[in-house]
Amino acid sequence: MEFLSYLISGISLGSIYAIIALGYTMVYGIAKMLNFAHGDVIMIGGYVSLVAMTSLGLPPIAAVLLAMAVCTVLGILIEGLAYKPLRGAPSLAVLITAIGVSYFLQNAALQIWGANPRVYASVAPDTLKLFDGQLSIPYVSLLTVAACVVIMIALTLFTGKTKMGKAMRACSEDKGAAQLMGIDVNRTISMTFAIGSALAAVAGVLLCSYNSTLMPTTGSMPGIKAFTAAVFGGIGSIPGAFLGGLLLGVIEAMAKAYISMQLANSIVFAVLIIVLLVRPAGLLGKYVPEKV
């Protein structure tokens, strides 16, 4: 029973990582950049939903929608102001700019909401009791897993069936050729950032409900772990991000429960290193042989 509850907690945490990793992987696939500010967009999403629920008194679902709207606008703004002028610049320059954006968001949140951790009331506070109360599952865990599966299916359909999704795949394959086929590359990239940021808002609400606290640095560590998850599954691949996130969450929960609380992150990262040594392009990543 203990094992089962750890497993459920791991899957729920893993689903959050997966949602964040989906945003990472989409942006990476199309813009070939590590968007370090993604974790901080999650944090902004958390704060917006918190303010919406406590100060404005909105119901949770409205708060989530508001957070998504704000983060989408924020994502498009960040892309337009900070990343678009650097298109074609060395990838490290874009990386440093992303780090600058990340510092900016963290410090802006610090100025607006203060450094003290805020208590975050879960969007689905009750727990489901099974087997005469031996196994209790928080509703928010179920909600997280459900949200993750829905998002994953929706994204797969979106990139596979719709015109915009196909444009995204074309851009991630070859920007030049996509442009020649009449695809508006800039608009497609903005759209990717918008979707990624909206996902970040959802992840923010779920993450804060899981942790029940929120502060300006909340997003950075889950951001790094989700990035790890995206690489783990094969960066650029949507099912890879899903699988990577889920595995990472389960490994982390198990390591915390059975091996060592202190070394849980180390164990996660050690597994990542071993996987990358065996499969250098991640679990589901395509290995592209070099041509001379």
Partner: protein, 353 residues
Amino acid sequence: MKKLKSLKTTTKVDFATYFGVIAAFIVVSLLKSGGFLNRSLTGMLVPICCYIVMAVSLNLTVGILGELSLGHAGFMSVGAFSGVIAAMSLQSAIPSGWVRLVVAIAAGAAFAALAGFIVGVPVLRLRGDYLAIVTLAFGEIIKELINCLLVGVDEKGLHMAFNISGTLTIDDLGMGPGGTAIIKGAQGATGTEKLASFGAGFILVMLTLVIVLNLVRSRTGRAVMAIRDNRIAAESIGVNVTKYKMIAFITSAALAGAAGALYGLNYSSLAASKFDFNTSILVLVYVVLGGLGNIWGSIIAAAVLYILPEALRQFSDYRMLVYAIVLILVMLATNNPTIKTFLGWKSKGKEAA
């Protein structure tokens, strides 16, 4: 004068770098003895030297070798804590502070080089962003491992324990009554004797410059840069890729370890959480802003950016916000193709990573 003109441009740049650093040291020392520096600036002199060494050493990996490393602070951490252990445990054996500082820095460099070797073997097999994420992973692993470390010293020698379960304390080391704790797990090193000084920092910076500039201008350095520019071409003309990558990576790690040891001995207490991902990123920012592969650029960027938050003090609470905006604007200004053409800067061609 004639002789100076006949020198190669790279040699001239190198000499200018050495003289610049020496001149800066003399000016700052004069200002310091004249009492022109306030307390917070005086306190920043040693960390600035450490971060200059960090930036130059990371430039060796990112700029010269062309591999993005996001875990450079891990090597600094290894150097810092092994340096602190060496300095504290040799307190009775070597009475002279200067000698102990040198031994500590050497120990820091040696252990960081060892860590660099252990990390380098798997890491350098990977490419691009995968390599970057694995260096990040190693940085975090090193941080957590040191967080679990308990070290103390008594008359019988060093005592070490590894606090995996989180239940051990410094008393579990079984030290004699005269023992002192050096590293207390997550609390880090406490009660460290401050051995570092600005002079020592200057010497370390000069030593780093001599090592890195000579390496870059040597046959080895040219091989490393050939690998950066085109790995396959370099391999096909017989350059041993693994060997030269390892040389550059381990040298970089050892220098970071030396910087770490100096840094660790500049504070009476130091926690492993200081050397986290953000510190690695901070150093990477210095390197990129200073210019990839540009050694004197790294020095200036490290010094200026380390002082910048202090210089922005007039913005008080908003200074980190302003710092972030400055960082973004500088990147936009130096990399935007339109602005570059406008200012008449030529594009330097290919990207390094």
